[in-house]
């Protein structure tokens, strides 16, 4: 006892004057107050909020070049939303009741004593008349009441949210040790890694000692995964065959809200709380009874929707009017622009893919997609549009000329309005006239699109030029105008879909939830598809043949399980998949690698194309360094592809540069650095240039002594390039898997005979897409490697050394290291050459970005080094 006593007392220096007689007691030190973050009740919401706030910060950052406090931005945003709501209602009521339109339209004259000018205040009715009119109008009062209730609800929610996010904010600051100002620099992966760290220390989840990335994703995306799976298995009634319109997809936000209400959180929903399905739904015994209950619930919710329909409809119209009119007036072309439809977002979403990941993926595919859609201009429409534009243009020109001559023309009735109308008309017509320099190469474009969106039905392959394909793609990628229209119609149509279509599916839904829900320890009930288990849900036609034991009912369509697995493994390199999946991933990677190095077909020929396109692109000056930085990763990746993580990622391409650098700034730390970089599958793609920057600063300081504050830019750079790299790798794999799938299902590679050779321009166009994919904010001001933050640069360059080191240093695995990259290098560099010389584009070829930029990387490194 005495022994313990002394030991505890030693910690507390000031603890010396304890009252006599108590020295013999065991004295303890409480540990409680250190963090309030252990054991959080609702981890689902907690993680959701973290990801949201993090995303918000990033979002905020991307658009506000200056670092602002994202929390305040969010606060302001929400406040303005509330204000907007009040404004919409108040302004509408005012317009309806308090304006004397007779005066405004000059149908009635006002008798002014001093002047004949009509002023705006003249047109506004006096307050008492106005309020009397409002009071008499029952309908208006009704609307005001409804919106008042709605507003109060929003207000309460707002208050609640603020409190929650304030808490999350302090979690970021205190537990994750990220200040809000720095938050935008961190990628989600980094935040996640810190959360995993935190778990070890604070046990925010009490079931397990350690959290995995998958656990966090499961919690954030629990319901979304269910929805994705339901769309994947075509369980939700969103596709309809209409007599006139043919196959259509109708999926709006209102409908989605209702689905979620029914399944996940509404009164009497299938879920007991955020994390567990009600027990009775897990048993198969009384499925019929449960289905009955569900269908009657759907009926009631449908009826409620029907009753509330007028209110929602009015709200939608008002909201659409106020939020879109201004934009349409400013740029009428925006109606002709396209956006990814809500259905598309669910169809294209991987299991376990966060919102921001999906959005960035889709945004990268946007340009190619709209280009693809523009390929299908109907020639008839074009001719008509050209002529309409001509006539409208000439009238407009005359009117404008007259106005310039004498502006009294404007005072003539309807002249101003006709000018406006003609302008709009011309803009609309112009959107129907295809670009003169457009090249029609749908097959290639579709490949580029596929590289980003990762999913497409089988029958699109080889049919890219057909209108059917285009129409189906239009379901995923709809006109903005159609989107708005659907949203407007939604309140009317939703109740009918619920009552007549969804109800019929109630038994299937019950079965779905029973069959595809698994209870994961520490996570709760999740959709079993989201486990991404190839064995349980793999599709034999998607490379998991032999591994899958799934029945047709259990197979995820479109290779979703496989692609999701790849995507998740690539975006979360630290994640340890279960053994089956590891096997699958490594096998696939090896195959891709083999294909690449063998240089026979498919993907490799594509790469040749890309080499050429890239060499085209990189010649343009302004991007030089950043572009090359970004070009770097794919080349490294390609070298690296087939390898498993434990090997130190070395690229032969960069090795020369690296050794050159070493001669400039000798570093001996490469060995231990390599040790600290154990199992990441990703090479650090940003190294060459950073190494250059290191050489430039000439600092030999050790890498580990960086302060994250000063290296914020570089940190951002690293993470962005890393994520860029990951998305590239995923694109390669998606394309490869689709290619394999095609071969598997057709037995042979289909040759599309229908193809127009427009090599130069097509590569040009692809090239443009490439640029669009590197949507790299602040590229002009990006201080990529020229910022001489010594520590930061040192840090990164040492990481670089970590990678390059393998080429020269004697390492245990050096023989392996020498061997592995050699093969791909030969393949790639040869491809590089062939790619340059051949001007024709091979027909399969149009992957977006797999540039084997080995030579380029090297040369840039050299150049930079040379200049200093």
């Amino acid at each position: 006892m005495a022994h313990f006593d002394t030991e505890y007392q030693r910690l507390e220096a000031s603890y010396s004057d304890s009252p006599p007689g108590e020295e013999n007691l065991l004295v303890h030190v409480p540990e409680g107050s250190k963090s309030p973050w252990h054991h959080i009740e609702n981890l689902d919401l907690f993680f959701q909020r973290i990801s949201f706030l993090h995303y918000n910060e990033q979002f905020d950052y991307v658009y506000n070049l200056h670092q602002k406090n994202g929390f305040t931005c969010m606060l302001l945003g929400e406040i303005f939303e509330l204000v907007q709501l009040v404004f919409v209602v108040a302004f509408t009521v005012f317009l309806v009741n308090c304006v004397d339109y007779d005066i405004l339209f000059a149908n009635k004259f006002v008798n002014h004593t001093d002047s004949s000018k009509v002023t705006l205040p003249d047109a506004i009715l006096p307050v008492d008349v106005c309020s009397a009119r409002i009071r008499d109008n029952v309908f208006v009062i009704f609307i005001i009441l409804i919106s008042g209730v709605f507003w109060l609800h929003r207000l309460v929610k707002f208050m609640y949210n603020i409190c929650c996010y304030w808490e999350i904010r302090s979690f970021f600051i205190n537990a994750l040790k990220m200040s809000m100002a720095d938050l935008p620099y961190f990628t989600w992966q980094e935040v996640q890694a810190r959360i995993v760290e935190i778990q070890k220390e604070h046990q925010i989840c009490i079931h397990k000692k350690e959290l995995t990335e998958l656990d966090i994703y499961h919690r954030i995306l629990r319901f979304k995964n269910y929805m994705v799976a339901m769309v994947n298995k075509s369980l939700l009634p969103v596709r309809f065959h209409l007599p006139l319109l043919g196959d259509t997809v109708f999926y709006t936000r209102g409908l989605k809200y209702n689905f979620e209400l029914i399944f996940f959180w509404g009164p009497g929903s299938l879920f007991e709380n955020e994390w567990s399905l009600k027990a009775e739904y897990k048993r198969g015994g009384n499925r019929l009874e449960l289905a009955d209950r569900l269908s009657s619930r759907i009926l009631w919710i449908g009826i409620a929707n029907l009753l509330l329909c007028p209110v929602i409809l009015i709200w939608q119209i008002l909201y659409a009017f106020f939020s879109h009119t201004e934009v349409i007036k400013r740029e009428p072309g925006s109606l002709g622009a396209r956006c990814w439809s809500l259905y598309g977002r669910f169809y294209l979403r991987h299991f376990n893919e966060l919102d921001h990941e999906l959005m960035s993926r889709l945004s990268k595919g946007y340009k190619a997609s709209s280009k693809y859609m523009n390929c299908f201009m109907s020639p008839l429409l074009t001719v008509v549009a050209k002529n309409v534009a001509f006539f409208a243009g000439s009238i407009l020109a005359v009117l404008i000329a007259l106005t310039i001559y004498d502006e009294d023309v404007l005072a003539v009735e309807h002249v101003l309005s006709s000018i406006t109308l003609l302008g709009v008309c011309i803009t609309i017509c112009r959107s129907f006239i295809p670009d003169k320099h457009m090249v029609f190469c749908p097959e290639q474009l579709l490949k580029v699109i596929l590289a980003h969106i990762h999913y497409m039905p089988d029958h699109w392959q080889g049919n890219a030029h057909r209108y059917e394909t285009r129409d189906e793609f239009a379901q995923l990628f709809q006109y903005k105008a159609v989107f708005i229209l659907e949203e407007l119609l939604s309140p009317v149509i939703t109740p009918f879909i619920l009552i007549f279509c969804l109800r019929r599916k109630s038994l299937e839904i019950i079965d779905f939830f029973r069959n595809f829900t698994v209870d994961v320890v520490g996570v709760g009930d999740t959709c079993s598809f989201a486990q991404m288990d190839v064995r349980q849900h793999g599709h034999p036609a998607w490379m998991s043949a032999g591994k899958t034991e799934a029945s047709i009912y259990q197979q995820a369509e479109d290779g979703k399980t496989e692609l999701s697995l790849m995507h998740f493994a690539i975006t979360n390199p630290h994640w340890q998949p279960p053994r089956e999946s590891t096997h699958f991933i490594s096998q696939l990677k090896e195959k891709v690698h083999r294909e690449a190095s063998g240089g026979q077909q498919g993907i490799l020929t594509d790469n040749a194309v890309f080499t050429s396109t890239h060499s085209l692109q990189s010649d343009s000056e302004p991007h030089s360094l950043i572009a090359n930085l970004l070009m770097g990763p794919p080349s490294l990746s390609s070298l690296h592809l087939g390898r498993e993580g434990s090997i130190n990622p070395v690229s032969v391409g960069a090795s020369e540069g690296a050794s050159a650098l070493r001669s400039l700034s000798p570093i001996s730390s490469s060995i231990h650095l390599r040790g600290s970089y154990p199992s990441a599958r990703l090479p650090r793609p940003d190294q060459p240039a950073l190494a250059a920057s290191r050489a430039m600063t000439g600092s030999g300081t050790d890498a580990q002594t960086i302060s994250s504050g000063s290296s914020a830019w570089e940190g951002q750079l690293t993470s962005m390039v890393l994520s860029e790299y990951a998305s590239t790798e995923m694109s390669i794999h998606a394309l490869y898997m689709h290619e394999m799938h095609k071969q598997q299902s057709q037995g042979e590679l289909s040759r599309h005979t229908w193809y127009r050779q427009e090599s130069d321009e097509s590569s040009e166009s692809v090239n443009e897409d490439l640029e669009s994919t590197r949507n790299f904010p602040r590229s002009s001001t990006f201080p990529c490697t020229t910022t001489p933050h010594q520590e930061g640069a040192a840090h990164h360059s040492s990481r670089q050394q970590r990678r390059h080191g393998g080429t020269t240093d004697s390492v245990p695995g050096s023989s392996r290291v020498q061997r592995t990259p050699r093969v791909p290098l030969g393949g790639w560099s040869e491809e590089t050459r062939t790619g340059r010389h051949h001007d024709t584009v091979p027909e399969e070829g149009s992957e977006d970005e797999l540039p084997p930029r080995v030579h380029k990387v090297r040369s840039v490194t050299w150049a930079t080094v040379g200049s200093f």
Binding site: V29, D44, C163, P267
Partner: protein
């Protein structure tokens, strides 16, 4: 969700209900109680002593150990008695569940009440059987005794696992973790609730509560 849950199932005769429940609840609480904390300067504290005492059951062939705190015993007896009454009143052949929930309080700012976050829930499902004659009762009393012995070992095994426990609090926070209302012993904050029959369907109030919470959280 973020809480462990353990389920124990016992079948007992009507008159054995309270003793069986007391035995299990007391066993759990014995392991989830500490002596009173005496805080000193500089954030250290010493722990008081806890006495234990054996309790012999009348209707079951069983003896269990409980914390020798009459106050705690009284509180638990009261809960168990209510449960037994509920079982008796329910009319049908007596299925019920009594759960002992350990929780932490989290202080919130003014407009919200304190959150109670459970970290461990023990649910004891009780199945009441009717016995015909004295001999069966005799056998039953022995059998139930054996079963309870198993359960106690079961409980100890669970508790011995190295799993999450709230961290020892500082003086200001001791009320968030421990029930300090008792004079001689200091169990973790706990709550005893019970449900009669298999009425797992959610009641109106919980549904409403969740509805409000969900809309807020949305």
């Amino acid at each position: 969700m973020n809480c462990r849950s353990e389920v124990l199932e016992v079948s007992v005769e009507g008159r054995q209900v309270d003793e069986a429940m007391l035995a299990l609840l007391h066993t759990i609480l014995l392991h989830r109680s500490t002596g009173k904390f005496h805080y000193k300067k500089e954030g250290t504290y010493s722990i008081g002593t806890v006495g234990t005492q054996d309790v012999d059951c009348d209707f079951i062939d069983f003896t269990f150990v409980r914390v020798s705190s009459d106050e705690l015993d009284r509180v638990i007896r009261k809960a168990v008695a209510e449960f037994k009454d509920g079982l008796g009143n329910s009319g049908n052949d007596g299925m019920g569940q009594i759960s002992l929930e350990f929780y932490q309080k989290k202080k919130s700012r003014w407009p919200f009440s304190d959150e109670c976050i459970p970290w461990e829930v023990w649910s004891i499902k009780v199945n009441v059987v009717n016995l015909a004659n004295e001999q069966e009762r005799q056998i039953c009393s022995e059998k139930v005794g054996e079963k309870l012995g198993e359960k106690v070992i079961n409980i100890v095994e669970v508790i011995n696992r190295h799993e999450y426990l709230p961290k020892m609090p500082t003086q200001s926070e001791v009320d968030n973790v421990f029930d300090t209302s008792l004079k001689d012993v200091q169990p973790y904050l706990y709550k005893i609730t019970f449900q009669i029959t298999d009425s797992m369907g959610t009641s109106v109030s919980t549904t409403m509560r969740r509805l409000i919470k969900d809309t807020l959280a949305l």
